[in-house]
């Protein structure tokens, strides 16, 4: 991925190119999908939020000018807002988890289905652990630590200073010292971004 690629594609999309927008989707769908999962603990809902995120991105294409080298940080913030507003808050999100029986089935092998169900259970526990954080710290943690957006990029898309982003993440980390796994990076399995 190059700076010009995303910017050029975004510019084309802003001009109405559905093809360019489709390329951006192909490029970032997986990362946004996983970001949404980390906010919801539901793979099925992450699919819906992924779709809503890109739909909103399309609607905002003429109003947004990419200042950074990648569209991904902005897409993450859009996704965060989509998730936040869909259930009003992450706390409420936890109360509204779709249960296993309502999950959209995955036409995979049974073991993969089981792994995804385990993911959800594990993510639910982790979200419960960060539930007590203020929303801005929680979302900064998800953005910068879990989804590995740089402080500078996060600051740009959040419209705050880089120092403020650092402060939010730092406060979140200090409050989660007993959950050290939460303040370290994700156990990646080939993130393609």
């Amino acid at each position: 991925m190059t700076t010009e690629d995303d910017r050029a594609l975004w510019s084309q999309a802003a001009g109405g190119s559905a093809h360019a927008f489709g390329v951006l989707f192909d490029r970032h769908a997986k990362a946004v999908y996983n970001h949404c999962f980390r906010l919801t603990a539901s793979w099925a809902e992450a699919e819906d939020h992924l779709q809503a995120t890109f739909l909103l991105a399309w609607r905002k294409r003429a109003d947004v000018r990419l200042e950074r080298e990648s569209a991904l940080p902005w897409l993450f913030t859009v996704a965060t807002n989509v998730v936040r507003n869909e259930q009003r808050s992450l706390t409420r999100r936890l109360k509204n988890l779709r249960r296993v029986g309502e999950e959209r089935p995955m036409p995979d092998h049974a073991d993969q289905v089981a792994e995804r169900l385990d993911d959800q259970q594990r993510m639910k526990e982790l979200l419960e652990a960060v539930e007590g954080l203020p929303r801005n710290e929680r979302e900064a943690l998800a953005l910068c630590v879990w989804s590995e957006v740089s402080y500078a990029d996060a600051a740009a898309v959040l419209g705050i200073t880089e120092g403020s982003v650092r402060a939010r993440v730092s406060k979140a980390k200090s409050k989660l010292q007993q959950h050290r796994e939460l303040v370290h990076t994700v156990a990646h399995s080939g993130e393609d971004r």
């Binding site: 559905a18 927008f21 489709g22 989707f25 192909d26 769908a29 997986k30 999908y33 999962f37 980390r38 099925a44 699919e47 819906d48 939020h49 779709q51 809503a52 890109f54 739909l55 909103l56 399309w58 609607r59 859009v78 807002n81 989509v82 998730v83 936040r84 507003n85 869909e86 009003r88 409420r92 109360k95 509204n96 249960r99 296993v100 029986g101 309502e102 999950e103 959209r104 089935p105 995955m106 036409p107 995979d108 089981a114 995804r116 169900l117 385990d118 993911d119 259970q121 594990r122 993510m123 526990e125 982790l126 652990a129 959950h179 796994e181 994700v186 156990a187 990646h188 399995s189 080939g190």
Partner: protein
């Protein structure tokens, strides 16, 4: 808690092109008739945030006026839950408040500790842990048309709780057992429901069109990170298997009156769906 964040995963097979195609249709047509109501609601809300405008946000039930309303769940007054009516009323009020809904009807109450209850509205199923949470009621919720079942039963609650003495557990108490827990709705044909896990099989409590079951473990138990999920099976009065949670995803169901899918199984071609069963 000792688990790492789950690994990143790709979309399920077939979903990426499907979502891409839906987006392409939406952006090409420049309208959003194919999108779901929740997505529209989320989009509208996010637009407000992006614009930095404070708006009066719609209430939780506002986005669903186009959805067919089914007949309300029967009143719980005629059912004996083993507790006084005022306790039933308190549970219904507390659980509804905890779930953010106006009113919910108690359908099943488990008095064994930790106590929990299943309550339903037309559009929500609430599993409510009593004596937990800030207000004494900790609520999980499943959403959808509760008047229909994708098969002979639903799994509206499936969770696992580590014992209080398990490594990494954060319970303030000691000696509390761990457990798998399931609950949901059943059709009129269902006479028996079982919960299976780790070579254990227990019979669920089946009452009032609902079921609930737990498998208990020692207080040092924590559920396996990569173990198989518990399995729910439903049987009729003759002992015939009516459905199993580990295979139910293979079939899609639709509301025979409206054609709407029941149970969110969008991957399947809808012409292969079976009629959903009513739940009363």
């Amino acid at each position: 808690m000792t688990s790492m964040l789950p690994p990143t995963r790709d979309l399920p097979p077939g979903r990426r092109p499907q979502i891409r195609a839906e987006l392409e249709r939406a952006v090409t047509r420049r309208r959003f008739s194919k999108l779901t109501v929740p997505i529209l609601a989320a989009t509208a809300a996010v637009l407000a945030v992006v614009a930095g405008v404070v708006v009066l946000r719609p209430g939780p039930t506002d986005p669903t006026p186009l959805v067919q309303i089914t007949s309300p769940a029967p009143a719980s007054a005629s059912v004996d839950f083993g507790v006084p009516p005022e306790t039933v009323a308190a549970i219904e009020e507390g659980c509804a408040k905890g779930g953010g809904v106006a009113k919910a009807t108690l359908r099943l109450l488990v008095l064994e500790e930790p106590q929990w209850a299943l309550l339903y509205t037309d559009r929500e199923g609430l599993n409510c842990r009593i004596g937990a949470g800030r207000d004494g009621y900790s609520v999980g919720m499943v959403k959808g048309d509760m008047g229909w079942l994708a098969g002979h039963f639903s799994v509206d609650e499936m969770s696992s709780t580590a014992g209080s003495d398990a490594p990494g557990a954060q319970h303030s108490e000691v000696g509390k057992r761990g457990f798998h827990q399931v609950g949901g709705r059943v059709s009129e044909r269902v006479a028996r429901v079982t919960l299976s896990a780790d070579n254990f099989v227990v019979d669920a409590k089946v009452v009032n069109g609902t079921y609930a079951a737990r498998i208990y473990y020692p207080s040092t138990w924590r559920f396996p990170e990569n173990g198989p999920s518990p399995v729910v099976r439903a049987y009729d009065a003759a002992g015939n298997l009516l459905g199993s949670s580990d295979t139910s995803w293979q079939t899609c169901y639709e509301n025979p009156r409206t054609g709407e899918l029941v149970g969110s199984v969008r991957q399947h071609p809808t012409d292969q769906c079976q009629p959903a069963l009513p739940w009363k």
